[in-house]
């Protein structure tokens, strides 16, 4: 299978949108390996704060991140965690717990706006950009900057 960055020729970008606490986020489809139903993570002793635990995916142990904790998202309407996105994180697979996976979207590069347009401060470093689809703001997460180097190191140790 040929390796792609998810971009087509026309310079469009495919993203998978999902919701966490009624907020809509998205990740580039190229980063996603698989979407599975949520299953309870087995907690690891002395694991970092942001790692919820590990899940077994057809014999492979995959660490699972809790984005709510990582992004320090606090919402009044806590949605139920229904899916886990299995994504490529360097040479490792990592699970990200989300509420609901929505759909696969085809967006143009021009639609993507800089996150600074909406968010000031350090919060924007985790984002690749923001786009507007069907009058709904979608925050496109940047997996490369989602975790710090130390955290990435800690993750590799698992």
């Amino acid at each position: 299978m040929t390796k792609t960055d998810g971009k087509d020729k026309a310079g469009g970008l495919q993203i998978v949108s999902f919701t966490i606490d009624d907020k809509e986020y998205a990740i580039e489809i190229s980063k996603i390996i698989e979407i599975i139903y949520y299953k309870a993570a087995t907690a690891l002793p002395q694991s970092p704060q942001f790692i919820e635990g590990v899940v077994d995916l057809r014999g492979t142990v995959i660490p699972v991140l809790d984005l709510k904790k990582r992004l320090r998202l606090v919402s009044k309407t806590a949605g139920s965690s229904n899916h886990i996105l299995i994504v490529r994180f360097g040479d490792k697979m990592v699970g990200i717990v989300v509420d609901d996976v929505k759909e696969v979207l085809q967006i143009e590069e021009g639609q993507i706006q800089s996150p600074q347009t909406y968010i000031k401060g350090g919060g924007s470093k985790h984002l690749r950009g923001v786009c507007k689809v069907h009058d709904q703001l979608i925050f496109i997460l940047s997996l490369d900057t989602l975790l710090s180097d130390d955290e990435q190191a800690q993750l590799r140790e698992i």
């Binding site: 998978v16 390996i33 698989e34 979407i35 996976v101 759909e103």
Partner: protein
């Protein structure tokens, strides 16, 4: 002596004088004794004072000259004083212990050289030749009078008092004034003297010349003669006695003269007069001439009074004596007459005795008659008593009659008032009857109305009954209808429950479809991801995946809609069930209420049936009542008529009762009169009874006294015979009296002669 005493006793003058003399002598003797005793004491005091004066002089001289070392001056002074008249002895007896051998003072001072020699030895430088000039040197120096026990006693006592005593200046003065001085009487050469003693103690100032060791220098002894004093006393006594005697004599003479003038001459005067009367052969006419106001005058006056009284008495006696004489003569003649009379009396008594006997007989007859009279009287008394009691009974009956009449009067009065009341009542009854008749008419009308009303009520009641019957039927139908409703509702309920279960089955199926759709969606997503990662090759696959996803989405949407419909259906069915349940409950309530209504209607039906029958009864009763009212009205009319008749009758009765009352009043008066008359009769009867009783008693008394009289007459008979004896004795006595009267006459004439002697 006897003749002297007799002489004194005979004369009052001498009696008085001798009494005065005795009193005077006693009083003068007592005065004399007191005066002479006091005079002697004062003379002795004078003597003692004199001796003390001399002792003071000598003491002073001793004190002064001894201190000037001039003992010789004192010696000469003593010698000079010895020569004074009246002073029998003056000397100082030494008290020095050295010269007092046996405790008694004996040596006389200045009579030897003992003291002088001693002094010379003590103070050689002060020697003076004058000390020895003309100094006596007695070999046996013993002071005179020292053997006197009184002196010895004094000496010892004084030495003892002054020894062991420190004498001060005050003591010296006191001694000089004679604190320890003493005196006593003794005799020197057969002459009485008073010896005065004064101690001369050893003062400290004396010790220079005389040394110490003894308490007393000496005792100064002065003896003065008492001859002069005694002579003067005797002279004074003699003078006193003579003066007393003279006074007594003079007083006696004076008293005798005064007595003679004041007492004796009047006395003698009175005595002379009395004597003259006594010797004047009973001259009771002469009187004493009274010139005195004292006791003698009183005596004379009272004597005159006495003579006067005596004169009066004697006059009366004389008169009496004359009368006695006259009476005696009369008595004499009287006695003679008595004697004659006694004879007559004797005869009379005899006749009396005979008469008394006759009387006795007659009295006995009287007594027997009185007894029979008494019996008769008692019988009549009994008869009267019976009559009296019967009259009493009549009186009582009359009283009862009176009360009965009173009672009947009262009853008639009451009746009359009752009749009046009846009259009134009848009048009111009449009005009442009329009122009743009116009321009955009204009642008749009312009953007719009631009847009409009852008829209406019966119709109404029947209507109610029909309605109630219809209601009951309707209720039964309702209950049946409700029962059907209940059945239907139960059926609906079952259908809905079935429907609900079916709907739930559809829900379950829908869930499965939903799940499939979702999984399909996920698969489509994953397929899209894979297709995307396959790049250009996976592009068609991506389209298929997209379509699959869309299908899945549509399916999910449909199922969601179906879910909504089913949920709505379920809600509806739930509501329907609830509604049915509520309806069921309502139906139950309706059934219950319909039942209740049915029973209520039944009750109404029963009640209305009952009330209908009652009302019918009432109607019947009302009919009866109407008939009754008519009958009552008729009766009332008849009654009114009767009442009217009664009223008329009562009115007449009332008039009649008034007449009766008048008659009864009269009857009452008559009864009262009868009663009073009967009562008076009863009282009269009682009085008669009492009189009869009294008569009976008197008759009894007469019978008794007749008996007694008979006895008495027997006694009189006895007495008459006794009298006869007495008369005989009297006649003897009268004879004796005649003799005595003759004697009396003699005595009376003698008395007359004697009284004639008084000059009246």
């Amino acid at each position: 002596m006897r003749s002297f005493r007799d002489f004194i006793v005979q004369r009052l003058e001498y009696k008085i004088l001798s009494l005065i003399l005795v009193i005077l002598v006693i009083s003068f003797t007592i005065t004399f004794l007191i005066i002479s005793s006091r005079e002697k004491q004062s003379s002795i005091n004078d003597e003692r004072e004199k001796a003390k004066l001399v002792a003071d002089t000598i003491h002073e001289t001793l004190d002064r000259d001894m201190m000037a070392f001039r003992a010789d001056v004192v010696r000469f002074l003593m010698d000079d004083l010895k020569k004074l008249e009246g002073i029998k002895r003056i000397q100082i007896v030494r008290g020095d212990a050295a010269y007092v051998g046996d405790g008694r003072g004996r040596d006389e001072a200045f009579m030897d050289f003992k003291t002088l020699n001693d002094v010379k030895q003590r103070i050689t430088t002060l020697y003076k030749p004058e000390w020895e000039r003309d100094h006596v040197d007695r070999k046996a120096n013993t002071a005179a009078g020292t053997d006197n026990p009184e002196f010895q006693q004094y000496f010892k006592k004084t030495v003892q008092a002054l020894s062991n005593t420190k004498l001060g200046v005050e003591d010296e003065k006191a001694l000089k004034r004679g604190r320890l001085d003493a005196s006593y009487f003794e005799e020197i050469d057969g002459e009485q003297v008073m010896t005065y003693l004064r101690p001369l103690p050893l003062f400290p100032k004396c010790a220079l010349c005389h040394g110490t060791g003894y308490s007393i220098r000496g005792i100064l002894m002065i003896s003065t003669s008492m001859e002069g004093v005694n002579a003067a006393l005797k002279q004074s006594q003699r003078y006193l006695i003579m003066a007393s005697l003279g006074t007594v004599g003079a007083l006696i003479i004076l008293l005798r003269m005064l007595m003679k003038r004041v007492v004796l001459s009047p006395m003698n005067n009175v005595v002379g007069r009395v004597k003259a009367i006594a010797e004047g052969e009973g001259d009771l006419t002469s009187r004493i001439v009274v010139n005195y106001q004292d006791e003698i005058g009183d005596m004379a006056r009272w004597f005159n009074k006495f003579v006067e009284t005596l004169h009066h008495i004697i006059t009366q006696v004389s008169r009496a004596a004359k009368q006695v004489k006259a009476v005696s003569q009369q008595v004499l003649s009287g006695t003679k007459q008595i004697t004659d009379g006694a004879d007559v009396q004797m005869q009379a008594i005899e006749t009396t005795a005979a008469a008394v006997e006759a009387v006795n007989v007659s009295i006995n007859q009287v007594a027997s008659n009185a007894s029979s009279l008494s019996a008769l009287s008692e019988e009549s008394a009994v008869a009267i008593l019976q009559m009296s009691s019967s009259i009493d009974e009549i009186a009582r009956s009359a009283a009862v009659l009176a009360t009965t009449i009173e009672d009947s009067t009262a009853s008639i009065l009451e009746m009359s008032s009752s009749v009046k009341q009846i009259d009134e009542n009848v009048t009111s009854l009449n009005t009442a009857a009329e009122d009743t008749a009116a009321s009955m008419t009204e009642m008749d009308a009312s009953i007719k109305q009631i009847r009409a009303t009852v008829f209406d009520t019966v119709q109404l009641s029947k209507g109610v009954m029909d309605d109630a019957e219809r209601g009951r039927r309707a209720t039964e139908l309702t209950i049946q209808g409700i029962g059907k409703v209940q059945d239907y509702s139960n059926q609906v309920n079952a259908v809905i429950r079935n429907l609900t279960s079916r709907t739930e089955s559809i829900g379950k199926i829908l869930n499965v479809i939903d799940e499939v759709a979702e999984q399909t969606n996920l698969l489509a997503l994953n397929a899209a991801i894979i297709a995307a990662q396959a790049g250009e090759h996976g592009k068609s696959f991506s389209v298929v995946a997209q379509e699959i996803k869309e299908l899945a989405d549509r399916t999910a949407t449909s199922t969601k809609e179906i879910h909504g419909i089913i949920r709505a259906l379920q809600d509806e069915s739930k509501n329907t069930v609830l509604a049915i349940n509520r309806g069921s409950k309502s139906v139950e309530d309706g059934v219950r209420l319909a039942g209740e209504a049915g029973s209520a209607l039944n009750k109404i039906l029963e009640s209305s049936q009952l009330s209908t029958s009652r009302i019918q009864e009432i109607a019947r009763a009302t009919d009866e009542q109407t008939k009754g009212v008519r009958r009552v009205s008729e009766s009332m009319r008849q009654m009114t008529e009767m009442v009217q008749q009664i009223a008329n009758a009562t009115h007449e009765q009332f008039k009649g009762s008034e007449l009766i009352i008048g008659s009864t009043e009269k009857m009452k008066d008559i009864a009262a009169k009868v009663k009073n008359a009967t009562q008076e009769q009863s009282i009269g009867n009682k009085q008669i009874n009492e009189i009869v009783e009294r008569v009976t008693a008197q008759v009894k008394e007469i019978a008794q006294s007749s008996g007694e009289q008979a006895e008495e007459s027997a006694n009189i008979l006895k007495a008459v015979s006794e009298i006869k004896k007495v008369v005989v004795q009297n006649m003897d006595a009268i004879g004796k009296v005649g003799i005595a009267v003759e004697e009396l006459m003699k005595q009376a004439s003698q008395l007359s002669q004697e009284i004639d002697k008084f000059k009246l």
